[in-house]
């Protein structure tokens, strides 16, 4: 049961929830990775156990702070079990490992339940299991870490200058870890009272490896033979050095993009003002101002592109997550599965990752649950006992191609066709080709809700996979052979036509206006408009700005509001103010062309959708301005 923080400082700690979740995610990833390594390796590595222990310990601490008692208690039990394993009072066996894995999954579940405001699952059963495995007194030797040939003593004296250069105890540590095994890291006080760190590293590399050390204030010499390290010294499992990777929120990137959008508008205004100054400014001075403005424009463009590149992530991250899921499923079902990965370093926009994560996961789950057979079935068919699930990615021109393949049962056309017929979906016969087969499987209603829930608990079905892919402008295809296996191929465009847009409401309908076309946004009272030569105008920067009402150009009904907004479009001399009822927000949109003549219309540049499946039309501002001129006469 989860109770609010008993010290009643709940509100204080709530502000740290985002940090909490982010830190939990990091720990859970490293825990999962460690579990996979534990499962694969023949011997048990003490350093690994210690890392696991510490991760659970930290998770216990921060969960306690934010008041998530279930997570705190679960982490506590996991930590206790790990302490015994680490100290050697218990050895890791199968039931123990399984309890660990189950415990970690549940811990993840508890944290996610809190994150999504759902009911927190009960931890009682797992607690009992963990306590059961923790109390089995089996003794065993904890594997000692192997020691490599030569030991060197490296001394590092930290100074403020070195720290400024990036040479600090962490970076030195990382460097030494790359060379070999770090056996010791301890602080000492030298003769004159200054602090230094003594590292002992065991490496097969020779002296040349230390060539760069002296420049960074490091000295080295062969280490005296020392006794084995004490229990508290540990060797952390090599991880990505903290300095080289930064965790970035997609929201913060969106914020960056928004600010860049505003910079673009400001710069355009600067350009306009420069144009005005031309007459009254000495030529040379003006030219140099102009150059500055232009180079700013170029720099902004570069900045925008760089931020977009930050959004690229390696698809290997998704593959890794899939590997965990596959192992869980394999373990639960007793199947033996080997996961082959390739192309993990292929980069993909984070936006695509977020949209495709669930669908791709669904395909993987399907492959494991339905595609791959049990050991017995496979051996009966003369296949190797381990099923192979291969995940691959590569870029092909402007597209990224992701394949999820298994060497399992394959999809039986007859079964699919029968079921489609029984469900009243289709009357196709079994001679359908792979493409038609895919269509059938992806028809909503093909698999029943119960199945979808059991598999993924979230109602992601094949129809969603197809839909999500196609909405991103991609394509799903399928190749399958009974008895041999199935391969799903997902192709996605690498670049989407993405633009920044203002979403506005005019006469009850939503439209998108490209940010780049908007010079400025004004708030206007109806009372302050006047009529000049049959056109509505307002005063703007000492000049007259004609107003453009979509109702006139588009023949819509409209009501006058007491106040409304005006988007200033176009250059100073032929600027026009587009009247809108409300500004709903600023969004990055995926621009889709309207190809069919039936739906094309002057003043409409294309369409997009804002995540609610409803289409929003994108205004063509230059065409609108033309239309405004013709509507006048």
């Amino acid at each position: 049961m989860d109770t609010p923080n008993p010290d009643n400082h709940g509100e204080f700690f709530d502000q740290f929830l985002d940090d909490y979740y982010a830190e939990c995610d990091e720990h859970l990833v490293s825990i999962r990775r460690a579990l996979v390594t534990l499962e694969d390796a023949g011997t048990v590595d003490r350093a690994l156990l210690d890392n696991l222990f510490r991760s659970f310990h930290t998770l216990k601490g921060i969960s306690g702070m934010v008041g998530l008692a279930a997570a705190e208690q679960l982490a506590h039990h996991l930590e206790s079990y790990l302490r015994e394993l680490r100290d050697g009072t218990l050895t890791l066996n199968k039931p123990g490992f399984e309890a660990l894995v189950a415990g970690v999954s549940l811990l993840e579940g508890v944290i996610n339940a809190r994150r999504n405001d759902q009911q927190i699952p009960s931890i009682d059963e797992i607690t009992v299991r963990l306590q059961a495995v923790s109390s089995e007194p089996t003794t065993g030797e904890v594997a000692k870490n192997d020691v490599a040939p030569t030991r060197w003593l490296v001394e590092f004296t930290p100074t403020a200058e070195l720290a400024e250069r990036g040479v600090n105890v962490n970076s030195v540590r990382a460097r030494l870890q790359e060379l070999g095994q770090l056996v010791q890291a301890k602080p000492v006080v030298k003769g004159a009272g200054e602090i230094a760190f003594e590292f002992i590293v065991a490496t097969e590399a020779d002296e040349t490896a230390f060539a760069t050390f002296e420049a960074d204030g490091l000295t080295f010499r062969p280490a005296p033979v020392e006794p084995a390290p004490q229990p508290r010294d540990t060797q952390p499992v090599p991880t990505i050095a903290p300095a080289s990777v930064v965790r970035v929120d997609l929201d913060r990137l969106d914020e960056l993009m928004r600010i860049i959008g505003e910079l673009v508008i400001s710069r355009t205004r600067l350009e306009d003002q420069l144009t005005e100054l031309k007459r009254t400014t000495p030529a040379a001075a003006w030219r140099s101002l102009q150059e500055t403005s232009q180079s700013m424009g170029r720099q902004l463009r570069d900045l925008r592109e760089s931020v977009m590149r930050v959004r690229m992530v390696q698809i290997g991250e998704i593959f890794e997550r899939m590997t965990f899921v596959v192992r869980d499923l394999a373990r639960e079902s007793g199947k033996k599965i080997i996961v082959q990965l390739s192309g993990g370093e292929t980069e993909i926009d984070k936006f695509l990752v977020e949209r495709m994560m669930d669908p791709l996961m669904h395909l993987v789950r399907n492959a494991v649950s339905h595609g791959l057979e049990t050991v017995a079935e496979r051996e009966a068919q003369g296949k190797r006992s381990e099923g192979v699930l291969s995940l691959s990615a590569m870029t092909a021109g402007e597209r990224i191609v992701i394949k999820i393949a298994d060497d399992g049962r394959g999809i039986d056309r007859n079964v699919v066709v029968e079921r489609a017929r029984a469900r009243g979906i289709s009357h196709a016969n079994s001679e359908i080709d792979d493409e038609a087969l895919l269509d059938l499987i992806c028809t909503p209603g093909f698999s029943t809700r119960d199945e979808a829930d059991r598999e993924s608990g979230r109602g992601v079905g094949m129809d969603v996979v197809k839909k999500a892919t196609e909405e991103l402008g991609g394509r799903v295809s399928l190749v399958t052979k009974v008895g041999e296996g199935t391969t799903f191929t997902i192709e996605l465009p690498l670049t989407l036509a993405i633009a920044e847009a203002l979403i506005v409401s005019v006469n009850g309908q939503r439209f998108a206006v490209p940010q780049s076309a908007v010079r400025e946004v004004l708030e206007v009272e109806s009372a302050s408009t006047s009529v000049l030569e049959n056109n509505e105008i307002i005063s703007y920067r000492g000049k007259v700005l004609p107003l453009l009402r979509l109702a006139r150009v588009f023949e819509m009904n409209y009501q006058r509001e007491t106040s409304f907004h005006v988007l200033v479009l176009g250059e100073e001399t032929n600027a026009v103010g587009l009247a809108v009822d409300r500004i709903l927000g600023q969004r990055e949109i995926v621009v889709r062309a309207i190809k069919d003549p039936l739906a094309q219309s002057k003043g409409i540049a294309g369409a997009t959708e804002l995540g609610d499946q409803r289409v929003v039309l994108i205004l063509d501002t230059s065409a609108l301005r033309q239309l405004a001129i013709t509507a006048k006469h």
Partner: protein, 154 residues
């Protein structure tokens, strides 16, 4: 023998060759397109593509009705164009032998042009087979009332 998708409109059954039907969807609200032909309800997003939703009732000059749970969007892909047709219901799939399809009667052709490829008679039933190119070409006037009367539609 060719498979056809059948749909209903104002009490009459129409058919289109199933190879031209990309999919059949429940209709979501279409975004209204300004200055478009009155029969174009708007645009919808299907498979990542923005396509027009053509209301066949309006196209054929029938009275428009409120949408209900049976209304469907039949997405037609002729190879050149992808357009959605808004119809009353669309649930049937039928194989029609070529022999059962007769060319539209002279009287009809003269009056309302070639929007019909033919009329299929299966037992008591009459199914009007659409000529999609004509239906989708809005330059082309369509007046199906006469053919409705001939097939006993309302």
């Amino acid at each position: 023998m060719e498979p056809f998708i059948l749909f209903e409109l104002a009490g009459t059954t129409y058919g289109v060759r199933s190879r031209f039907v990309q999919q059949i969807e429940m209709i979501e609200d279409a975004a209204s397109v300004p200055n478009a032909h009155p029969a174009v309800e708007g645009v919808v997003l299907v498979r990542g593509q923005v396509i027009p939703a053509l209301n066949l009732r309006t196209r054929f000059g029938f009275e428009r009705i409120e949408r209900d749970l049976r209304s469907r969007l039949v997405v037609i892909n002729t190879g050149n164009r992808v357009v959605g047709l808004v119809v009353d219901t669309a649930r049937e799939f039928l194989k029609i032998p070529a022999e059962s399809i007769e060319p539209p009667p002279e009287a009809l052709t003269g009056l309302s042009g070639h929007y019909l490829e033919g009329i299929a008679t299966i037992g008591e039933r009459m199914i009007l087979i659409l000529n999609l190119d004509a239906v989708l070409d809005l330059e082309y006037e369509v007046e199906p009332q006469i053919s409705q009367m001939m097939t006993d539609g309302r």
